[in-house]
Symmetry: C2
Subunit: 391 residues, 2 copies
């Protein structure tokens, strides 16, 4: 049959799909484990099938465990971690609300951008990349601006900082403020206790420690956050992430589930398996594994003469390590060398840390001694062979 | 290691994942073909890897072919078809804009809801489910309300209607109005010509005729739509689907790509394969296959004494068929019988068609003579064994 169509089939699409095998030791996505990849090849289910609801219930419970929360309003949104950030802000913030954003890397900048689009009055609390906020910093911001919401990143993957969170919930609540925490890059790798630490909204991603493909993002809301959310005067800007719809779709509101959107069912399978692997291993062993392998990496980097970007060892994120670009080298040369000669991905900085650091991720399935040794060997090789200017 | 955690690992998550094999002949998702399932099990790539960009370029070209458009601004959004609907409205509509929404099923209702959240002045043009709009209907609405955007569904999966589109673009443009078309349930199954028909914004989904898992949604913008979008006075409500960011991430703006969000890479693999299969087969043979198999289904349904819900044969969607619930039967009994005894999913109505119809989908990989015969046999069996009240 000869075609009369104005636009013909593209030739590049008629070639086979090419997906090389890599070792992804950047800040995420991390490698998807074989068990999770197998789940990604399963037959599809209807979004309204009882088996789908069972898998969604499993996901909900898995998130409650990973977050250490009893919140009934715990779901996965149908999008990336960025979509979860919007879900949090879109549902809890209304036009005119005062919002305080802790900015110590790119994620705070993005949260501020979203809050501004909502029409909130946005105030920034900033720290140079590589540092963390103290309770005193935050109390100053709370007393000065009287926000109804404070945003902070737990695992700041752009700078390699883990933000201590003890006391922040209590502090925020004393100022009648909800605490919103981004744990996309830290969940499962660094301890976090949603209920105990008084976190009101917590979200994460599927593609870091959980080793599932990107496309779903866990999120949970405390009773206080739910109250603010469900007593708002206006509808949230988005229907796609409107929590009154999503709470129903995820069986959180006690009513029969109705169709909202077609969830990414296959990604539910893979997220479910990522959460199951974490539950089987246990959070504490997972935290310990990340700590130990990252310490091994840190020692090895220092033995190579490299400098860790985060000065305070207590503030170093156990999932993503930032390394200062060594004097005399071009950061791009080293990254390219690792990819070309070792099929290992590490990345440069992002936002405020761009050009200053490499970022090396060891997350979940990828957090092994063997991978630490492999990336150290590759870096040693790169430092030997990449061009170095005289200083 | 004994755990001291307040929330323990959930027991249901420690059981194996259970995903039964079904034949999904509802309105979508349709079965994922073995080749596409295999793509879903491939190793992950970085969102900024050159191989990922190549796959995204392939997707863009595949969408241009499926849409029959030369628009450079053609991408897949990282969400469901619903997310694409929001992407269209969020980017092209500003607060105070006048928007006309054609409502002949649930999708128009949803579009109206989203436009209202933006703060647009929303007018509805309605048709009873099972019917389609005429040029005259639309011209009346355009001349009365002077909208800057008109929304219409091509494949109205809730009622089983395919909306004729010839002349609608020209008509809208005469009234200085952009034409936005939803082709989630029709793309690849019923002819559509974005450029020739003057469609300004067209979007679809991955999980219907393309047989990929849900989680990505093709979308394209004409030059006129891009002009309105990129000359707007305010930022779109969402950063996640802000087309100025997404155009860059998809290599549509001629600038180096920068990190925006972590796209659902694995879903890009599967969407790419779905589009490749369509390009290999060819659009015209695909349209013909859907038409023939659906006609075979229609004949078989009538031979069983069942009535098609859409009276005008020209308006029957070649992907999703609506059948009036036969007098004396409960619609739920028949659907449950098919699932329980034949592992076949067909569904009830949705929104305005709820309780009135069954919906049977034959999409892409599922559009075969064998599947037509299988669902007809199952229905024959169900009509024999399901309880029937005396009339």
């Amino acid at each position: 049959m000869s075609s009369m169509l104005p636009v013909g089939p593209p030739s590049s699409l008629l070639l086979p799909l090419h997906v090389p095998q890599r070792l992804l030791l950047g800040p995420g996505p991390s490698d998807v484990s074989p068990r999770i990849r197998a789940a990604g090849a399963l037959p599809i289910l209807s979004p309204m099938a009882p088996e789908t609801f069972q898998i969604m219930d499993d996901i909900k419970k898995g998130i409650q465990y990973a977050f250490q929360t009893q919140n009934p309003l715990t779901i996965a949104v149908s999008g990336s971690g960025h979509c979860a950030m919007e879900t949090a802000l879109f549902n809890v913030v209304e036009k005119g609300d005062v919002v305080l954003i802790g900015v110590k890397g790119i994620w705070g900048e993005r949260a501020a951008d979203i809050a501004e689009r909502i029409g909130a009055e946005v105030h920034l609390l900033t720290k140079p990349p590589g540092e963390a906020f103290t309770l005193k910093d935050v109390e100053k911001g709370l007393s000065e601006h009287k926000p109804s919401l404070f945003f902070i990143t737990h695992g700041e993957s752009s700078s390699g900082v883990v933000q201590p969170l003890d006391g922040f919930g209590e502090l925020c609540h004393r100022y009648n403020c909800l605490l919103l925490v981004d744990s996309v890059a830290s969940l499962g790798g660094a301890p976090i206790f949603m209920d105990k630490q008084g976190i009101d909204i917590l979200y994460s991603g599927s593609q870091k420690v959980l080793n599932a493909p990107p496309g779903t993002a866990p999120i949970s809301f405390s009773e206080a956050a739910s109250k603010k959310m469900f007593s708002r005067k206006t509808k949230p800007p988005s229907l796609y992430v409107d929590m009154s719809w999503l709470a129903n779709y995820w069986g959180c509101d006690g009513k029969p589930r109705t169709y909202h959107h077609t969830g990414p069912i296959t990604n539910f399978f893979t997220l479910r398996e990522g959460l199951a692997i974490l539950a089987e291993k246990g959070l504490e062993p997972s935290w310990q594994m990340h700590r130990e392998n990252t310490l091994r990496l840190h020692k090895g980097l220092e033995a190579l003469g490299l400098k860790l970007f985060v000065k305070d060892p207590e503030l170093r994120l156990p999932t993503v390590t930032t390394v200062s670009v060594p004097v005399g080298y071009e950061w791009k040369d080293i990254i390219t060398y690792l990819m070309k000669n070792h099929s290992i991905e590490i990345t440069g900085g992002l936002g405020p840390s761009a050009g200053k650091v490499f970022r090396i991720g060891l997350m979940g399935y990828n957090s092994t001694q063997a991978n630490v040794d492999r990336v150290l060997d590759a870096l040693r090789d790169a430092l030997k062979h990449c061009p170095k200017s005289k200083i």
